[in-house]
């Protein structure tokens, strides 16, 4: 390569006659660092404002306005990059690969919403995330997803998160960014497939509330974890729940846990047997997950550039394939011995197998945990926003008669009201 690239086949002229000056390079610079810092400041301010609007001010209108701002700023102006959803991949790669540096901006985008979720719940989802804001604004006629389907689809983000981290940590690419349906809309360009997915999800989102957030978003999994132990949280009612059931249908995202007062009682022994069976199933699932994950990891490794190239070069070396691809031709000109490539490919594949096993264990844990949670019957006195699933959109507030009373609005007749505090 050095030979044909660096050769000065034609010695550059001196221009002694005319004294011609050589032009230099034109170097348009990237966005200044202060603009990156501005992004972080806007993010923190928007998170704080969203927390205040959802928890303190209890204003749906304010959250919609903030959502529109976030959509314009983080979405259409910043073209959706860098976003918190994608930043988990940079962090995973940073943790796995010691030579990979994570820019401070990316770290801030990845961690700030999690810290806020730990304090105030998923206020990031409500009005700061441009993906969430876009879908929230598109929702016009929410329909209810059947319970069994809801439970099933809610598992997808966990699996997606596992796979995304496998690919990011092994250096195999950022699939969350690659298959992001809405970034094509922010940029008004992209591959046909992803534009179609984006438009399809938006149309679906007119009837099914926030399909990406509920059934795909891998970052939502982490936010859900943080939010489930959050210090403060969104409450449907400002003071006391009177079990009036008015809020029951108000959540388009199926994030309201119903009171179990009216639920039919079941025998304790059946419940206990079911729970015991599910707990015993967990180790079986974990073993199967670990084994399957290892095999899958080995296959996924073939998507990695180095493994793919090594396989191709091996086929060429053994004469099973004639001619070269662009990648193998590029490898040949470097003059690197094939043994080095094979060794690199083996390292990459081993990393994939390890990551695949961990991912398999994770998916098994999620499915087993889900089955156990389904087997547990919780007693619940009030109607409450589910701390993991609630996106803090504030839609349910005005369905609560206590809230209407607090705001000085007319309350539907025949509804039991708690004495004002």
């Amino acid at each position: 390569m050095i030979l044909f690239l660096a050769a000065q086949r034609f010695p550059p002229p001196e221009f002694s006659e005319t004294g011609h000056k050589l032009p230099g390079f034109n170097t348009p610079l990237p966005r200044g660092p202060w603009l990156e810092h501005l992004d972080v400041i806007v993010l923190l301010a928007a998170l704080a404002l969203a927390a205040w609007l959802a928890l303190r001010r209890r204003s749906r209108r304010g959250l919609v306005a903030l959502g529109i701002f976030s959509l314009l700023y983080f979405g259409f102006w910043r073209k959706g990059c860098i976003c918190s959803i994608g930043s988990i991949q940079n962090m995973a790669q940073g943790l796995a690969d010691s030579s990979f540096g994570v820019p401070a901006t990316v770290l801030a985008f990845g961690l700030a919403p999690l810290v806020f979720a730990l304090l105030f719940g998923r206020v990031f989802c409500s009005a700061v995330c441009p993906h969430g804001a876009l879908q929230d604004l598109m929702l016009i006629k929410p329909v209810r997803v059947p319970v069994w389907l809801e439970h099933g689809l809610r598992l997808i983000p966990y699996i997606y998160l596992g796979l995304a981290l496998v690919f990011a940590a092994t250096g195999g690419g950022y699939i969350i960014c690659q298959y992001d349906p809405f970034v094509t809309i922010f940029r008004l360009s992209g591959s046909v497939l992803m534009v179609a997915c984006g438009i399809g999800l938006l149309v679906l989102g007119m009837f099914v509330g926030r399909p990406y957030c509920r059934f795909l978003c891998p970052y939502g999994v982490l936010l859900g974890f943080a939010s489930s132990v959050s210090k403060w949280r969104v409450r449907i009612t400002p003071d006391t729940c009177t079990q009036c059931r008015l809020c029951e249908q108000s959540c388009p995202f199926d994030a309201i846990n119903k009171s179990t007062i009216d639920a039919p009682s079941r025998s304790m022994t059946t419940d206990k047997r079911l729970l015991a069976a599910m707990i015993l199933l967990l180790p079986v699932l974990l073993i199967a997950g670990g084994l399957l994950g290892g095999v899958t990891g080995k296959n996924l490794a073939r998507k990695h550039r180095i493994v793919n190239l090594a396989e191709r070069v091996y086929l060429e070396e053994t004469g099973k394939e004639s001619g070269t691809t662009d990648a193998s031709a590029a490898f040949r000109v470097t003059g690197e011995p094939v043994e080095n490539l094979y060794a690199d490919a083996r390292t990459v594949r081993d990393r994939y197998v390890l990551a695949g096993r961990l991912c398999g264990l994770w998916i098994a844990l999620v499915i087993g945990g889900k089955l156990i949670m389904l087997a547990i019957r919780r007693k619940r006195h009030d109607y409450e926003a589910d701390q993991t699933r609630c996106l803090a959109c504030a839609r349910c507030f005005t369905d609560c008669p206590q809230e209407l009373q607090r705001l000085g609005l007319s309350v539907p007749e025949g509804v039991p009201l708690a004495p004002p505090l």
Binding site: L22, P23, R31, P33, K79, G94, S98, G101, A104, G190
Partner: protein, 182 residues
Amino acid sequence: MNRRDFFRNMIRGATVLGLGGVFVDLVRKVKADGTVWQIDPWKCIQCGRCATECVLEQSAVKCVHSFNMCGYCRLCTGYFEPQPNKLNTAAENQLCPTGAIFRTFVEDPYYEYTINESLCVGCAKCVKGCTMFGNGSLHLQIRHDRCLNCNECSIARACPSDAIHRVPVAQPYKFKSRESTS
């Protein structure tokens, strides 16, 4: 404090510790400044994917010219078709599909070749011609006034020679020059 609140506090504490751990580990590797994507021209094999794989409708990759490497040839293999009718600026003789390279006479027998970036689509046809038979002074670079700096660059993913990587924002270009070799 009841039992459930106690457990909740424990989990919250553990999450804080976990996040703190991730944070500390990453902070040690954190780069205060960001990164941008750039092509290593010494690795580029001029496959032409830069023109089509970029998420922008017109690629952020453009051809640039390292004048101090250029031989100022009369028969420029980056400018002319492989078998040109005549060595003049007629469109039929030009290799560039958009006519983005301009040829001006300097002194006998030298010609200067300048790129009009607004016409260039980054197809690398001229780069290939120049690198194969000339000094390799024409090369591709990602132009940062156009690049969106996506978290994952889709041309980097498609690049067969792994020539596109993140570089520190302070040195956003990897220009070829007579002094810099691979």
